[in-house]
């Protein structure tokens, strides 16, 4: 597979969230607003890229029977490192994401990429694969986050975007969008739209 394909395929055609249906839990939990979705996307992208690189570098030394433990150790180290750095340099953002940064450890996409790609590929393609998957995940998060914030709260990045005249005319924010079902509905619509355009369907 060419490097370009490795990088771009997970963004649309093999998107980790909408096609592989991984990382759904965090895609539901942090997407009530755009800002946490964005920071979560960046954090996950950095963590997948770094762990992919490290695992790829030591791939031939990892004993097969304990590979999952080794992978988890590396992911956990990266996650705590990112959390510590956020606390020191982006204190406000780290307060907003609170427990969800720590929960990246359990994000299936990260372990999935290590198992499925970094263990059998060279460092450069592994970096590209991690970065591509991170961006693919972030795109969906940002789309869902933006949709939920606009429909649920009438704001975007905290600024109001729905004109007051519309509210005066009887428009109301949709409270359902702020709750978990709102994320399921938007995510479902995105999956439907994407598969309708790309023609992808699950094999029986």
């Amino acid at each position: 597979m060419s490097n370009k394909k490795t990088l771009f395929e997970p963004i649309i055609h093999n998107n980790p969230v909408t096609i592989q249906v991984l990382g759904i839990c965090s895609a539901l939990a942090v997407t009530t607003q755009l800002k946490p979705s964005l920071v979560m996307g960046i954090a996950v992208t950095v963590i997948i890229t770094m762990s992919n690189l490290i695992v790829s570098l030591i791939r031939s030394f990892i004993p097969k029977k304990i590979r999952i433990i080794v992978e988890m150790t590396i992911i956990a180290t990266m996650v705590i490192l990112v959390d510590q750095i956020l606390r020191a340099y982006l204190f406000d953002v780290s307060k907003q994401l609170s427990v969800f940064v720590g929960l990246i450890i359990t994000n299936c996409i990260v372990l999935g990429r290590l198992e499925g790609f970094a263990l059998i590929n060279k460092p450069l393609p592994s970096i590209l694969d991690g970065f591509g998957n991170g961006i693919g995940y972030s795109l969906i998060l940002v789309a869902v986050g933006a949709g939920r914030e606009i429909l649920g709260a009438g704001t975007l990045m905290g600024y109001s975007v729905i004109p007051q005249s519309l509210y005066n005319a009887g428009y109301e924010n949709n409270g359902l969008m702020v709750l978990a079902p709102g994320a399921f509905i938007l995510l479902g619509l995105i999956v439907w739209f994407q598969r309708a355009v790309t023609g992808h369907y699950e094999e029986e």
Binding site: Q33, P36, F91, K95, S98, G175
Partner: protein, 254 residues
């Protein structure tokens, strides 16, 4: 390729040592910066509660300077008397959470007072309590009459992002401004957090605010912790109220 047990053992030991070393050195190197962030954040939130924070972009130095010039802090005991702290311990070091584990008569309660010249223009106390997932930490500032709320902030909480975490938002906190904590019979009351906007003709509107939709448990937590923490300061607040009344009477006679 199959590896021997010894190889596996050595390999995982090396990985663990490298990871542990990396994390402990990161924690060590970043500790000072993280602690400063926490300290400045605490002072910033006290300033915010007493309405001294000019804008969110104030630098760390400006925050510390404003805090040092405008805020005076001391601790009171369960009977509402001001207590001297042993040397080397500052009021900011008193951890309200730890105090809660001591016997009632030994507890110390920090008070942050906003000075305006010689006059006091606000009283500020820490508020702590459980929400849905996390313990929420904040400050409550009262007007000099210790009845009307001047401001409330939450600076640390891990409630559901976008729902419960809205307790940290200004729009929610502003709803508390001007609400009263004493009822007609001179008892401390909880500020009730309703599901909807309080009705404008409600007799209790001075004790009511609208909650956050989708975050009932967090709202209930805020309601409980406000009353619980105000009750800790009840004796102290009553003393101030008595004094304010006396002062007012004297002015009246003059």
């Amino acid at each position: 390729m199959r590896h021997s047990n010894l190889y596996t053992f050595i390999f995982i030991t090396i990985v663990t040592i490298i990871c542990a070393g990396l994390l402990s050195s990161a924690a060590y190197l970043l500790k000072e910066k993280q602690q400063t962030n926490v300290e400045v954040d605490m002072k910033k939130n006290i300033l915010k509660a007493v309405k001294l924070l000019e804008n969110e972009k104030m630098s760390q130095q400006e925050i510390l300077k404003s805090y040092n010039t405008n805020i005076e802090s001391y601790v009171v005991n369960n009977f509402g008397e001001i207590v001297e702290l042993p040397e080397g311990i500052s009021v900011e070091d008193v951890d309200p959470e730890k105090e809660d584990t001591k016997p009632e008569n030994e507890r110390l309660y920090p008070v942050y007072v906003k000075k305006y010249g010689a006059d006091i223009s606000a009283y500020c106390i820490p508020i702590i309590g459980k929400g849905l997932w996390s313990t929420m930490y904040g400050y409550l500032a009262l007007e000099p009459d210790v009845n009307k709320i001047l401001g409330i902030t939450f600076y640390k909480q891990a409630e559901t992002p976008g729902l419960g975490s809205e307790v940290g938002s200004e729009s929610f906190q502003n709803k508390f401004i001007g609400k009263e904590i004493w009822d007609k019979d001179d008892n401390l009351v909880a500020i009730k957090i309703l599901k909807l906007e309080p009705e404008s003709d409600s007799p209790n509107i001075i004790h009511e605010v609208a909650g956050i939709s989708g975050a009932t448990k967090t709202s209930d937590g805020v309601m409980d912790l406000l009353l619980k923490d105000l009750l800790k300061y009840e004796n102290y607040l009553r003393n101030i109220r008595k004094e304010t009344v006396r002062k007012e009477t004297i002015t009246y006679v003059e």
